[in-house]
């Protein structure tokens, strides 16, 4: 991270910039009659969404690095050594989790500095960090599968806008209750909406095992699907090797 700040700095800067813009533009949205949390500031409302957005942007890094390893033959160096094949995948998934953990921590500290509050205190903060890191690994595992399939950094990077769209068609920056028509329907069925809403319960109402387990469950299912896909792609790539 120290040697390559250009890889992670934008994934911190971009969500903060968006948070600043939204907080300024929509600060009065909390006064709308159907707004689900009328007693909090808009900054508190978007805090979990911004952290999730940041780690999701960062989740591409691990897969991009893996695709780079395939492109520049570093993968061949690993494969011609006696190192276990599964460790290649475990290392990348761990990297996505740790990366998400560091990023989430930094983002929460910055939000605190600008006056955001977590009603559940340390337990809410820890839950937020864990859930977002877990999500970073889950989404990262899909991107890792794509890196293994294509071996192309360009393809992995081109998926960035899809993540962007998933975030925007969710309850990240506006409650679903205030959305209308097809947009609201898609947002309602977007798994990110469920994760963000349950995480928001933890950050705004205080830590709740029920919300924590529900959010963890959805992330677990996403991670499971991603990891199974990654294992399949790794096996497929290794099938050509002895």
């Amino acid at each position: 991270m120290v040697r390559q700040p250009q890889a992670w700095a934008p994934t911190l800067f971009f969500p903060l910039l968006l948070a600043a813009v939204y907080a300024a533009q929509f600060s009065k949205a909390v006064n709308l009659p159907e707004f689900p949390y009328p007693d909090v500031t808009f900054l508190d409302f978007i805090l979990p969404a911004c952290v999730i957005q940041g780690v999701l942007f960062g989740s591409t890094n691990s897969a991009t690095d893996l695709a780079g390893d395939i492109e520049n033959s570093f993968m061949d160096r690993l494969l011609s050594s006696p190192v276990s094949r599964s460790s290649i995948l475990i290392a990348r998934l761990s990297s996505a989790f740790i990366y998400g953990l560091v990023q989430a921590t930094i983002l929460i500290i910055i939000f605190f500095a600008f006056g955001a509050e977590l009603s559940g205190g340390a337990s809410s903060a820890l839950a937020l960090v864990f859930l977002t890191s877990f999500l970073s690994m889950g989404v990262g595992s899909f991107l890792i599968a794509i890196a293994l399939r294509t071996g192309s950094q360009e393809v992995v990077n081109s998926l960035f806008p899809i993540i962007f769209v998933f975030i925007f068609i969710s309850s990240a920056f506006f409650p679903v209750e205030l959305m209308d028509g097809w947009y609201g329907q898609i947002a309602e069925w977007n798994p990110l909406t469920w994760i963000i809403d349950w995480t928001r319960v933890i950050t705004i109402e205080g830590f709740s095992w029920d919300a924590f387990l529900r959010a963890s469950g959805v992330i677990f299912l996403i991670s499971l699907a991603g990891i199974v896909t990654s294992i399949h792609q790794l096996k497929r790539r290794l099938a050509v090797a002895s």
Partner: protein, 315 residues
């Protein structure tokens, strides 16, 4: 005990393309074996099969006594590999990369530290060991790549085109390193190259591969002597080219040569030059340049394939 490398009818196809076509190889203990061929001949595919990076689609091969297909993990413990593209992270230092390689081979932290220092010294990179690889020259990167492949003291070392893209000085320095390694430690080296001089300088035995098949195999001296007589090459003015070719064909077996040049095998040795020049003069052919070469590996390649490996065209 079996030889370090043995291949029997080793084959690899990609769809309809036969990249390596039923090759047989035996590399003996402590030998530098040169695998020579042009781009796309099948060298790297063969190396990838022998280093377990690619499954053979036919035949079999053993490296360090283990089957490359069914005992791949044992093969990996015994081999060192420096592939064509030196896969080196430019953000890491030479020292860090060597330590990482030591970890990949299960060498203890203490043992790894000592081994890394020893290898950096061996390849002349002690002073640059703590600098990022991104600042290294091409020659330094290749030397580091060589050191990386030696971390676990492999029995067999695979060097896939180790000097491609290097300047002449760096190339000679790397040759010296490989020679020392083979002489002092006795490491068996399997070297692929498209450079004739490199094969001639380093390899004790050579196999020439073309279109996936081994077309010649033996010591460089034997291969060259098998080609036979020295080659006389003559340049004439363009208008005399065809008639000069007819004259010279009568005096010796025609050999492949670059465009505009005529080459024949000179059975009578150097004394026969006079007869050739006299015959050309009798036909009023203006000779621009004459040279006589003992057979080279390029002649061996040309004899086997009908093409020149270095800067030549089909004959």
């Amino acid at each position: 005990m079996s030889n370090p490398i043995e291949a029997e009818n080793l084959t690899r196809t990609f769809g309809d393309l036969v990249a390596v076509n039923s090759i047989n190889l035996t590399v003996e203990e402590g030998e530098v074996f040169g695998f020579l061929g042009p781009n796309g001949a099948g060298k790297s595919t063969a190396v990838r099969m022998l280093t377990t990076l690619l499954k053979p689609t036919g035949g079999s091969a053993t490296v360090a006594g283990f089957d490359v297909a069914s005992e791949a993990s044992m093969v990996r413990k015994k081999i060192g590999v420096a592939l064509q593209d030196a896969a080196i992270d430019p953000l890491m230092t030479g020292n860090e990369l060597l330590r990482l390689q030591a970890v990949l081979h299960g060498i203890s932290r203490h043992g790894g530290k000592e081994r890394c220092a020893e290898l950096l010294e061996r390849v002349g990179l002690t002073a640059a060991g703590d600098k990022r690889v991104g600042t290294y020259s091409g020659g330094m990167r290749r030397r580091l790549d060589l050191a990386l492949s030696l971390v676990h003291q492999p029995k067999v070392l695979f060097l896939d085109e180790p000097t491609t893209g290097l300047d002449p000085t760096s190339r000679v320095a790397l040759w010296e390193e490989v020679r020392t390694l083979n002489k002092e430690i006795g490491t068996t080296v399997f070297l692929t190259t498209q450079y004739l001089e490199e094969a001639d300088q380093l390899a004790q035995r050579i196999a020439i591969i073309d279109n996936g098949r081994i077309v010649r195999e033996g010591t460089p001296t034997k291969l060259k002597s098998d080609v036979g007589a020295p080659t006389l090459r003559v340049d004439v003015v363009e208008s005399d080219y065809e008639i000069a070719k007819q004259v010279m064909r009568k005096l010796g077996e025609e050999r492949p040569a670059r465009k505009g040049r005529i080459a024949i095998g000179l059975d009578g040795g150097t004394r026969a030059i006079t007869a050739v020049l006299k015959s050309l003069e009798e036909q009023n052919i203006e000779v621009q340049h004459v040279e006589l070469d003992e057979p080279s590996l390029d002649d061996v390649f040309a004899d086997a394939t009908g093409r020149r490996l270095e800067g030549g065209a089909d004959t």
